[in-house]
């Protein structure tokens, strides 16, 4: 390794001069680094984009809580659908419940809301719904087959599906009224 290797300092000293090589190299590195950081500002690193967004929603046919004929995804075509995976043991689900119920009530028949119960028992769900109220059906998901098809990693998770049956957005945190409104816009023309 020669003494001058890699070090600009070993060059012969000049008087109060501008080292253009250092300036140019430095500015290129600085610009590249800043550009990358700038482009990523405002991105939420915790949101893992679902590969399902932009694709047809997986079909399902699930029995509603409290009994009755199974609800199929086919029968819901033609209207936007908000599909919310939840459980009674999940604290953030309780937090967003109010928003879901009131939005579903406000939108009436324009947008269909459905809950899918995740890893829970029917009687507990019924107690929960009696206590907290509801304005849309919740479905049971035996063996979590539908949750697996949607790639649910935890609850709550909410999928926004448009009238043609294409998933337009996925939210993996408790919905605030603002987040709800923003995502509803993606599925309602």
């Amino acid at each position: 390794m020669a003494a001058s290797a890699g070090s600009p300092a070993v060059q012969t000293p000049a008087r109060a001069s501008l080292n253009r090589r250092v300036l140019l190299l430095g500015l290129v590195v600085v610009a590249a680094l800043l550009a990358v950081l700038l482009l990523n500002l405002g991105r939420d690193p915790h949101s893992i984009r679902s590969p399902l967004v932009g694709r047809a929603a997986p079909a399902f046919s699930l029995p509603p809580v409290g009994g009755g004929a199974p609800v199929t995804s086919e029968s819901l075509r033609g209207r936007p659908l908000v599909l919310n995976f939840w459980a009674t043991w999940c604290a953030p689900c309780i937090e967003e419940h109010e928003t879901l119920v009131s939005t579903a009530r406000a939108l009436g028949r324009d947008v269909q809301f459905l809950g899918v119960v995740y890893e829970d028992e029917e009687d507990r769900v019924q107690v929960f719904l009696r206590r907290h109220g509801s304005s849309y059906p919740s479905l049971l998901d035996p063996d979590a087959k539908t949750a697996i098809a949607y790639g649910v990693a935890g609850v709550p998770e909410t999928y926004f599906i448009d009238a043609a049956g294409v998933i337009r957005a996925k939210v993996a945190y408790p919905l605030s009224p603002e987040a709800m409104a923003e995502n509803i816009r993606k599925v309602r023309p």
């Binding site: 070090s7 300092a9 000049a14 300036l23 430095g26 690193p45 915790h46 893992i48």
Partner: protein
């Protein structure tokens, strides 16, 4: 009331630091002693205002004054006072306020210590510190205000992030990190001043090196405390995951370590001044990049403060600091004089250069791995992550090479060496290397990299001990008693040299312990029912019972596991799964039984008290405690190097003629 007072203090700190920065630059240009006096006064005022603002916030936190926005955000009536106190740095705004306090203390001490010294550099340096102080005051006055008035104060607050209350290490880790991060501002200011002057004199290298060493010590401790916390709390059995925020603290440590070595070469030989200064600037810039990583929410990490509005502001400051540094280097670097010259590769000089190149390579490797996902996201819109395999594959050879250099470098003489000298210096330590590898192989080490690390560690250990012993032996030969010889060689005279070898011993031990612990462990995933027994390593585990506990802010599922080894009862370990009210996912807390040579590490994967079933991750991790110990050795060695040694007291150097000999490090004691 309190909030308004706090806002006034912050605004005053902003004004005072901005005025001080301008006064400092003016005094630097004009060389006016009065200007320097004014700058110092403003620096002390800045520190006093920051201290007052922090005192006010602590008072508000303890008084549970929820009319102050930060208290309403993190305070709670149900938390004990000590939690209220440490929540000063538990959340974004408070941590920046605390940052201001640390900055104030550093600026005060560095200014006071040098008020009559280095007059050509100090006003510029102080101006740069206060310019950084201006930025952090601006953050507190605008984007990250802790002192907003809450019009209708709530009766109670939510309390700080429960994860921070989970372990005592989380209370000490952040202050050490801030002491490391903020401390890099001081050498940054000194290096900027040298570039503005176009001169880096022999006498100025000592303060530069010492002010770099101090934050380096804190950063070393902070990194290891963070690793220790991850090990004791996160429950996956390891201590380092190459998480972006871990990397954020590691990057400036790498460049600072390189700078400490390069500065030694500059101090001894008068060469590589521009290079040393570049590394010092880079260390500071990387701390700001690290601040951006932890505070902007751009990087995905276990402990980033998310959804923060200060990202763009910190990015703006980073841009300014980067452009400033590049400009300073471009205009100043060619004005530095080179006094000496470097010897070829086969000398200690050459080893210093190799060390520097390896550390810089390490820095780029980690930096690229950390930033690469962002590049891909920005250009291709694809999410990806760079995992441990990349980092491990790159870091292992570099780390092992550095370990070898720690042995070869100090073994070689300064300057040119003859073939016979080199043989005499380099061959004997091979015995230590072979011995360490043989002991390792006898104990069952088969992994090639681990054997390499052991042999290099043994080599380096022998060189380090020889270099520590050599000056003692010389004094013994002259008839000194052993105690007297050690005292004179290591404490009174060659303290900095001895301290450096102590740091090396710690570092070598750390690398070996990391190599052994990460390759020689045993790991088992067990599915147990109550009453079941399983073995891991030499331990017998009996799953006694699963319990559900309710605590005020969390509920916990606890597994009681009876542990025995070789028929000897070692008591009960209780790994647990905590569910905090404010968290979506449950958080496990592992149980670790530490002994001298290995840890038994139990972590709950799933647990069901109703069914009496338990999924348990059981690991035996060898030599983990040695990593923490090695870091303590490094930190203590660093501290010892900071204490001026009597043989080369700075006063003596300054009083006498500036002879290059007396300002040099006594290499051979």
């Amino acid at each position: 009331m309190t909030a308004s007072a706090g806002r006034i203090l912050i605004l005053l700190a902003l004004l005072v630091s901005a005025a001080g920065a301008m006064a400092g630059f003016a005094a630097g240009r004009s060389g006016s002693a009065a200007g320097w006096r004014v700058t110092r006064g403003l620096a002390y005022a800045f520190a006093a205002l920051m201290a007052a603002a922090n005192g006010l916030m602590v008072w508000a936190l303890l008084a549970r004054d929820f009319s102050v926005s930060y208290v309403a955000h993190v305070g709670s009536r149900s938390i004990p006072d000590w939690v209220a106190f440490v929540s000063l740095w538990s959340s974004l705004e408070g941590s920046i306020l605390f940052w201001g306090l640390v900055m104030g203390v550093y600026v005060t001490v560095a200014t006071r210590a040098n008020r009559d010294r280095h007059p050509e550099y100090m006003p510029y340096a102080c101006a740069v510190w206060l310019a950084c102080g201006t930025f952090f005051s601006f953050l507190l006055a605008g984007p990250a205000q802790p002192f907003l008035t809450v019009p209708n104060p709530p009766p109670d607050g939510p309390g700080p992030n429960p994860l921070l209350q989970n372990h005592v290490l989380m209370i000490v880790h952040p202050p050490f990190l801030y002491l490391g991060y903020v401390g890099m501002t001081i050498p940054f200011g000194l290096a900027s001043a040298a570039l503005l002057r176009g001169r880096l004199g022999q006498d100025f290298l000592r303060p530069l090196r010492n002010w770099l060493l101090l934050p380096w010590i804190f950063l070393t401790v902070a990194i290891v405390l963070g690793a220790w916390w991850a090990y004791e709390v996160l429950g996956w059995g390891g201590y380092w995951a190459w998480d972006p925020v871990e990397n954020a603290s590691f990057l400036p440590w790498l460049t600072a370590t390189a700078a400490l070595h390069s500065a030694l070469l500059t101090e001894r030989k008068g060469v590589l001044k521009g290079w040393t200064v570049t590394l010092v600037l880079a260390s500071f810039l990387l701390t700001i990049l690290g601040t951006f990583m932890t505070r902007s929410g751009v990087f995905n990490s276990v402990h980033s403060f998310t959804q923060s509005a200060i990202g763009p502001t910190i990015l703006g400051f980073l841009a300014l600091a980067l452009v400033w540094s590049v400009w300073l280097l471009a205009t100043g670097i060619d004005r530095f004089s080179t006094e000496g010259r470097l010897e070829g590769a086969a000398s200690r000089d050459g080893m210093f250069l190799a060390n520097n190149l390896l550390f810089v390579l390490f820095t780029f490797t980690v930096l690229i791995g950390t930033v690469f996902p962002l590049v891909v996201e920005a250009t291709k819109g694809v999410q990806m992550s760079v995992g441990r395999p990349y980092f491990d594959r790159m870091a292992v050879p570099i780390g092992v090479a550095l370990l070898l250099l720690m042995g070869v470098g100090p073994a070689l003489p300064w300057g040119r060496a003859t073939a016979a000298q080199m043989k005499a210096a380099l061959l004997p330590p091979l015995a230590g290397g072979l011995l360490a590898a043989a002991v390792g192989a006898a104990l069952g080490v088969r992994q090639p990299w681990t054997l390499v690390a052991l042999s290099f560690g043994g080599y380096t250990a022998q060189v380090t001990l020889r270099e520590l012993w050599r000056p003692v032996a010389r004094r013994r030969a002259l008839g000194a008693a052993l105690g007297e010889a050690v005292l004179d060689a290591q404490v009174r005279r060659g303290r900095r040299r001895a301290a450096a070898y102590v740091v090396h011993a710690g570092a070598a031990l750390a690398v070996v312990a990391i190599a052994v612990s990460s390759t020689m462990g045993t790991s088992k995933e067990l599915q147990l029912r109550e009453g079941d027994t399983a073995t891991v390593g030499a331990y017998t585990l009996t799953f006694v019972k699963a319990e559900e506990l309710r605590e005020p802010h969390r509920s916990a599922l606890v597994a009681r596991i009876h542990v025995a080894r070789g028929g000897r009862d070692l008591g009960v370990l209780t790994p647990r799964m905590n569910q905090y009210e404010s968290q979506r996912e449950p958080v496990g807390t592992p149980a670790v039984r530490t002994s001298l040579f290995e840890d038994l590490y139990l972590s709950v994967m799933n647990i069901d008290p109703g069914q009496g079933t338990l999924g348990l991750l059981a690991m035996v991790n060898p030599m983990v405690a040695w990593i923490w110990g090695a870091a303590a050795v490094m930190a203590l060695g660093g501290l010892a190097a900071l204490v001026p040694s009597r043989g080369v007291a700075p006063a003596a150097v300054r009083a006498g003629a500036p002879s290059p000999a007396s300002s040099r490090v006594p290499a051979q004691g």
